[in-house]
């Protein structure tokens, strides 16, 4: 029995060897990280959810029969039906159209500020962590101030100063949100810079930028990417709560948060579930998808984890 098993395995290995000798063994063209990511089912499901929601938002004008802002008072507060899949709101606007169009803005705000703050935080943080010195100390203090101040209050403050608009909101989110990214990138680099391969590169006198961004950063990218997905989710939720308070994106633009704003009315909350449930589900699905993708990316980027 045992012998049989071994010989089977041997045969397999022989076949592989034979192929190799003939040069038939295909070199894996696909990037290793991508391959590992696609092997993770949950991550692919998450990615699918994200892409589905994002694309249907982008192509909303083709998908929807109604304009998001079109008022039709005769059909106000109608429950879901064949004509209006998600029903209509107080002014007779189609909720389905509003959710899809709203997704455009919400996703833009989420990803825009998530990626924007990551770029700034990581660029500064990894160099600071590698180099240390006054550069690191200065930014460390700034980030401490930002983190010590409650973010939502800072955002509210800035919104009242610079005014309420989509781009202002994006700018404010990035300005207040880069500090955690900075600190994480810095912390990772602090431990990586003691590794021997970094010392070897220093012994060759390779330039600091190449060591920092080409050799060290890929080892820190795993947690950074998870953090981008998580902070994107956080920014989407933050946009939602700001809009719910009426301080986010101006109310004339539909966003998931602005649609939920309607649920401040207690009778709508009680009687017209179709107005607030779809954007709520959309937000949850999107955030869930982001988390799945974040987990998948973390495993894919971890060089010690075999996919």
């Amino acid at each position: 029995m045992n012998k049989n098993k071994i010989s089977k395995l041997d045969k397999k290995m022989d076949k592989i060897k034979e192929k190799e000798e003939k040069g038939l063994l295909k070199e894996q063209k696909m990037n290793r990280t991508l391959r590992k990511f696609l092997n993770n089912k949950l991550a692919v499901i998450g990615l699918f959810i994200l892409l589905a929601i994002t694309f249907s938002s982008i192509f909303a004008p083709i998908i929807c029969r109604y304009e998001p802002g079109k008022i039709d008072l005769r059909n106000a507060l109608k429950p879901p039906s064949r004509a209006h899949i998600f029903g209509t709101d107080k002014l007779g606007k189609d909720v389905f159209a509003r959710v899809l169009y709203g997704g455009r803005i919400s996703i833009l705000v989420g990803f825009g500020s998530g990626i924007g703050s990551a770029i700034i935080g990581v660029l500064i943080g990894s160099y600071a962590g590698y180099k240390g010195g006054w550069f690191d100390k200065t930014f460390l203090r700034i980030s401490e101030v930002l983190i010590a101040f409650p973010q939502i209050i800072l955002v509210l403050l800035l919104v009242t100063i610079v005014g309420q608009s989509l781009w202002n909101l994006l700018f404010i989110f990035i300005l207040t949100g880069w500090a955690p990214m900075y600190r994480m990138a810095r912390a990772r680099m602090l431990s990586i810079r003691e590794e021997e391969y970094v010392q070897a590169l220093k012994a060759f006198g390779v330039s600091d930028f190449v060591i920092c961004y080409k050799h060290m950063l890929p080892n820190a990218i795993g947690p950074i990417v998870i953090n981008i997905t998580l902070s994107t989710a956080m920014f989407i939720l933050e946009e939602t709560s700001l809009s719910f308070l009426g301080l986010g994106v101006p109310l004339n633009l539909p966003t998931w948060g602005n649609i939920l704003y309607a649920a401040q009315n207690i009778s709508i909350l009680r009687n017209n579930w179709w107005i607030w449930l779809p954007p709520g589900i959309m937000i949850s699905l999107f955030v869930l998808g982001l988390n799945f993708v974040g987990d998948g990316l973390r495993d894919a980027f971890d060089p010690t984890y075999q996919g």
């Binding site: 021997e196 391969y197 060759f204 390779v206 330039s207």
Partner: protein, 340 residues
């Protein structure tokens, strides 16, 4: 061997201190004296072993020579093209040139290669920096180097986690060789490998030495490896070199009480060997390098301690009767420094 024309690297009173910060204002309250006044000549073409127990400053000294750590005081001179240059006072261009000639192979095969990049990707940057502009040329050079360390050239496309410890170490050696240096610090380069692989790597290192006319500083705590591999051996204790001589001398005729204890600790293969060595067991630990004992740093653990050892720091001096050059820093041999 004592021909001073052949000195490649000369260390004079090299000290490497690390400050200890304490208190609210982070003032330096003291220094860890990792390397505390080392004089050493490394000759062209030799393998100099640096042995000593953990914490004696071997690795720190090795990194200091390569300017990976800042030297607090003293000087390191390096001879290029027949001219002695102080490494501290080099211009950027000269340092650039010096980087080419000195390399290091590290101890830990797992942290010596970057897990996130393929071998080619991480080994090509030094070549790029030193003027090999075309990518195919760089690949060619690296393929050749890998073959020289007995690795298949396809390894370039793989990631480090696909290799065993011994293979990684050989890739590390290939990296150190990539700019054709003439001096390499082997920082416990074989101690993390198992014995059979260790032998392979040592053989590889000695054949590379022959082919490329290399000079090694071999840092190790494995004394039998040092005996096999080194021409001369320096024994280090608490940041100082206490004895230095040819490998043979150190093994057959250790003089410093500390060297005696180290040599007696080497396991003997044949239990009925004619060298009926008595194991000398040292009491206590290496003292705190931030607060070394007065006088001879070894005196609290020394079996043959004298009154003088507690106050006077012995100097590393040449024994006159020994033509091969046996240096020791111990008060026991005071008379022999002067007597012919």
């Amino acid at each position: 061997m004592n021909n001073s024309n052949n000195v490649l690297i000369k260390l004079r009173d090299v000290k490497i201190y690390f400050p200890i910060f304490k208190g609210v204002f982070k003032r330096a309250v003291g220094y860890v004296k990792a390397v505390n006044g080392v004089d050493l000549d490394i000759y062209q073409g030799e393998t100099l072993g640096l042995v000593g127990e953990s914490g004696s400053g071997k690795t720190t000294l090795g990194k200091g020579i390569l300017q990976l750590l800042k030297i607090s005081s003293g000087e390191v001179t390096y001879k290029f093209n027949g001219e002695e240059k102080n490494l501290k006072s080099l211009s950027d261009e000269e340092m650039f040139e010096a980087r080419k000639r000195m390399q290091i192979v590290f101890q830990d095969p797992y942290s010596t290669l970057n897990p996130a990049l393929t071998i080619f990707n991480q080994l090509q940057d030094p070549l790029k920096k030193f003027g090999v502009k075309s990518k195919s040329k760089r690949r060619e050079i690296l393929e050749h180097l890998l073959e020289e360390v007995n690795m298949p050239k396809e390894s370039l496309n793989h990631y480090p986690n696909e290799f065993s410890g011994g293979q990684r170490q050989r890739i590390g050696i290939a990296r150190a060789l990539s700019l054709s240096p003439n001096f390499i610090v082997l920082d416990e380069a074989t101690s993390a490998l198992d014995v059979s692989i260790q032998a392979q790597v040592l053989k590889l290192l000695s054949s590379l030495k022959e082919e490329r006319d290399l000079t090694y500083l071999f840092i190790t705590h494995n004394l039998s490896v040092a005996e096999y591999f080194c021409d001369r051996i320096a024994v280090m204790y608490l940041g100082k070199i206490v004895e230095i001589s040819t490998a043979e001398e150190i093994y057959n005729n250790p003089l410093h009480p500390y060297s005696k204890a180290l040599i007696s600790a080497i396991p003997v293969v044949d239990p009925q060997s004619k060298f009926d060595r008595k194991r000398i067991i040292l009491e206590g630990d290496v003292p705190d390098p931030a607060n070394p004992p007065s006088g001879c740093p070894f005196h609290p653990r020394c079996k043959e301690v004298m009154e003088e050892c507690k106050y006077n720091i012995p100097e590393l001096k040449k024994l006159l009767k020994n033509a091969k050059g046996h240096y020791v820093s111990c008060h026991l041999y005071k008379d022999e420094f002067t007597k012919k």
